[in-house]
Symmetry: C2
């Protein structure tokens, strides 16, 4: 009975007519998930089966704890890239240490997300502005695509950073394996065609729209099957040295929980935090935009628990960091998923694949996985937000571009730190240069507007200044300078009225400035007045020495203040 | 002629009657500066003459470029501590490398400050809130005082961090040099007495108030002279192993400019940036508070140039990082300094000391310098701001305490980083949880207030929501959730009116949210309206798809919007 109380709402109220949608969506997502989970494991520098392991229990864990009805959880491109880049300095790819570190990364990330969820820190996700996220995702996509070219061409070299990768590609280009490159480029061309033309073509020949759209999502699986058959039948791995996936161990993962030592903890907590942040932000924005289309709601704190539990489950089953993916969630949504049961169905199917079908992947060429990755990530490049931001707000567009180039030049972890710093810097820079307007009364009304924009009446001897920003440490100084310079321009001033309708916060630094200002004005026989102070600000001001001194000069409306100063 | 155009205003318009004040102040500051420059060089781990070198040219450079009339520039406690702590991992105290690094630190810090001044980045100083600065200075003061106790007692051991220092003091306490400790504690007691009681006592016996106050500032010099005479006459350095300053080379510093190599640059740029930030913030707040008392003005960008030039000059003459000091500036001000000529006079006097009087410092005991430092820094501990902040704003008080303990536990550099991060975190946390008020009309007026605080009239079918914060990435989500939850509470709603009088910024993320919201409301037959949009926000909104869709539903005043929704 108690157990049941913890069951999610959707399971308690499950309706039979939801099942067909969930079943269809679960099947289609599985067909996408198989090649993607192998490909993202490769991107993370891990054996292919780890990708499959990370595609079972995490889906079930999210289904039980998450709040989105349609989010498809599992390995995703950006988190896989971040895993590879954060483990690179710590262990060599292919070693048992590397795998253990990847599992620990999922474990730490899961613990952090769950802790954040319990502490109700979901709002931290909003510390990254939308343009910065867009720049980060686009930059990561470019980084991933460039990194995959060598697998596509069958070239081998090691590199770190985008410049050394490009340099390596140019230098090693003559070593291209022609057969590998042919398979890779053919797969790439096919996948691009499928993405951009296939649906239109199918609709043109009379296939129903929805079926045509779904067919395009199955293209990666088709490429996988076709290329595997070709390589296996012609023994291209031996005759032409085409790099293949090789033996994938069959059977479900053994559940174990590695415990991190102090050294590992010390090395991994920062990457785990960054992966958690990025994974959560990516996941919750997808979940949000899908939920809005159906009038459903997402609870950020529940999402933290859901994604956190999915990562814990991944670690428990020998997997690596997972989160909600963009492309698969959209497919899940449009294939008609009604509840997270679709995810549970995918998990069951993936288990069956692991138990019985892993030998089928033996001859799958790496080049086709790379083609899958490239097509998937190029779909993440977002020029729309850049155009919009460039048009609307140059500061946001600049932050987007700096984050984009920051990721490409310095790497993903540095990129996300640059992004957070830029988000905050834009915020502080803006509010540290507040808009302030000297206002007058719109004739015949009780309404006051900027004297430079509207025909208004003013009162001689009164400066009425509306401050369009909270008063706090970053702008208190500037505000004081503004008032002093207005006083210099209008020497006969007897009253300074500050209209605080836009002052949402007044911090200790701002209070200190106003206290000093009031004294300094009083010494010059100028009276300071406040109008339209917000309730929460006034509540705190009242109980301070400044509030005490000013108590007869605080007015509910600018109109009343105007009348009082006129009298 | 051209040269003269670059001369500062105060020099071009120098009035003869300013000279007596400048001369008095220059003399008194010199008497304070001599022991302090020796002491702060010791605190920075440098030979005593380096402190004297840093007290000549920097004063002249600031006089030519700074904007404060009364700031006293030179070695200060916090910057000296930061110098020692940032060089500790790079070179051993007493080596030529250590000295070179200290000079490079001043050079880099000077270059950074000048660059910031030319780029007009003075506003960056306001990124540290007043409570955080207060916590930082108090924490540094405690750290410095604890670090000086071993010199006061004549114990020798090396330590890093406050815990290991305290542990070392306890373990080595039995090794206390009784004679050194007697001198040190006597000096300490004398200096405390001078600071707290002497002025009152002198006034009580009829000495004029101003003379009495100034006499207390000469106490450190008296302690220096007295202890030097005692140690020299009794040969306590040999008979009782009292640690003394020893030979201080005579003569002015040779002007040379060391050029940093890449390694040094790489190791020093972060400490140089932190020292610049702290030095500038400390300096400009002192300058500001003194200027306000005389109705003068400080120009932050000019201050950057002034302090930057002072550091360049310090590096050129073999000195270490300098800035405007609190105590000396206050003395300079109250001794009647009218212009930076007072600083030039101090510089001339310091040159004379270096040329002819360095041998006088030979027998000066280190313990007395430590006593000087302890008394000086304990004066920097600020409990007033803590009390005020605790009363007014717990978040600010918490930031103050965390910075204070951060400095003590993790060190000065970490402390200042914690401080900046906390300042920003408090800012973002506040604006990410905006106050929002459902409003109604105050009967008989055109004024609208919170329905929970005032007796107001509302309109059925209308939700009028005033948003008391800019709409941007950190709160866009919460705002949308608030509106959705209001709609759930009031099912018959036909109009949602957002009153944007407090929305000073609407960033790309916020615009995206409002665009989605408007569409989603329209689909539910609810109309969105805006009132009291600020001019700058409206200018940008007008030219977007949302602005286009909303153009007939944007009202100048809430009153007009109310009438329109009622119709």
């Amino acid at each position: 009975m108690r157990m049941q109380a913890l069951w999610p709402e959707w399971l308690k109220n499950y309706r039979r007519d939801w099942l067909s949608g969930d079943l269809t969506a679960g099947l289609i997502v599985t067909v996408m998930l198989i090649p993607q989970s192998l490909a993202y494991a490769m991107l993370a520098g891990l054996p292919p089966e780890v990708g499959l392991y990370a595609s079972i229990l995490p889906l079930v864990a999210y289904a039980l704890l998450g709040s989105s009805m349609t989010l498809a959880v599992g390995p995703v491109a950006v988190a896989s890239l971040m895993t590879a880049s954060s483990l690179a300095p710590l262990a060599a790819q292919g070693t048992p240490e590397y795998l253990t570190m990847a599992i620990l990364l999922a474990l730490l990330s899961g613990l952090m997300l769950i802790a954040a969820g319990l502490l109700r820190l979901g709002f931290l996700a909003w510390f990254l502005s939308h343009p910065v996220i867009s720049g980060f995702i686009s930059g990561s996509a470019v980084l991933i695509a460039i990194g995959q070219v060598k697998y596509l061409l069958g070239i081998r070299f090691s590199s770190s950073g985008v410049l050394s990768t490009v340099e390596g590609l140019i230098r090693h280009l003559p070593e291209t394996n022609t057969v590998t490159a042919s398979i890779g480029i053919a797969a790439l061309a096919f996948l691009f065609f499928a993405r951009s033309q296939l649906a239109g073509l199918l609709k043109h020949i009379g296939v129903p729209a929805r079926a045509a759209d779904l067919a395009t999502k199955l293209a990666p699986m088709a490429a996988v099957i076709l290329s595997t058959v070709v390589v296996a039948s012609l023994h291209l791995d031996e005759t032409a040295q085409v790099s293949i996936v090789g033996k994938v161990p069959a059977g479900l993962p053994v559940l174990t929980l590695p415990l991190p030592g102090w050294d590992a903890l010390n090395a991994l907590w920062v990457p785990a935090m960054l992966i958690s942040l990025v994974g959560f932000v990516e996941s919750v924005s997808v979940a949000q935009s899908l939920a809005m289309k159906r009038g459903q709601r997402i609870h950020p704190d529940r999402e933290l628990l859901g994604i956190g539990a999915a990562n814990m489950a991944s670690a428990l089953s020998g997997g690596f960091p997972v989160t909600g993916g963009f492309a698969r969630s959209v497919v899940n949504f449009s294939a008609g998923a009604n509840t997270p049961a679709a995810g549970v169905i995918s998990a069951v199917m993936m288990s069956l694949v692991l138990i019985g079908l892993t030998s089928w992947f033996h001859y799958l060429p790496h080049a086709v996985l790379s083609a899958t990755i490239i097509v998937a990530v190029l779909g993440l490049i977002d020029t729309h937000t850049l155009k919009e931001a460039w048009h609307y707000d140059k500061a946001d567009a600049t932050a987007l571009l700096l984050t984009f180039f920051g990721v490409i030049m310095f790497g993903v972890e540095e990129g996300i730190v640059i992004g957070v710093a830029l988000s905050l810097a834009v915020l502080v820079w803006r509010s540290s240069h507040p808009h302030m307007a000297v206002v007058g009364r719109v004739p015949g009304t009780e309404h006051f507007r900027n004297i430079e924009r509207h025909q208004v009446e003013t009162l001689p001897g009164l400066i009425a200044l509306r401050i369009d920003e909270s008063i706090y440490f970053a702008n208190a100084q500037l505000l004081e300078e503004k008032i002093e310079s207005l006083l210099l321009q209008q020497p006969g001033t007897q009253h300074v009225l500050l209209i605080l309708s836009a002052v949402n916060q007044l911090d200790t630094t701002g209070l200190g400035m106003l206290t000093e200002l009031e004294k300094s004005l009083a010494a010059r026989h100028v009276l300071l007045h406040f109008a339209e102070i917000k309730g929460p600000v006034l509540d705190r001001l009242r109980d301070t020495p400044l509030g005490e001194r000013m108590k007869d000069r605080i007015y509910l409306s600018t109109h009343q203040a105007f009348l009082a100063c006129a009298a």
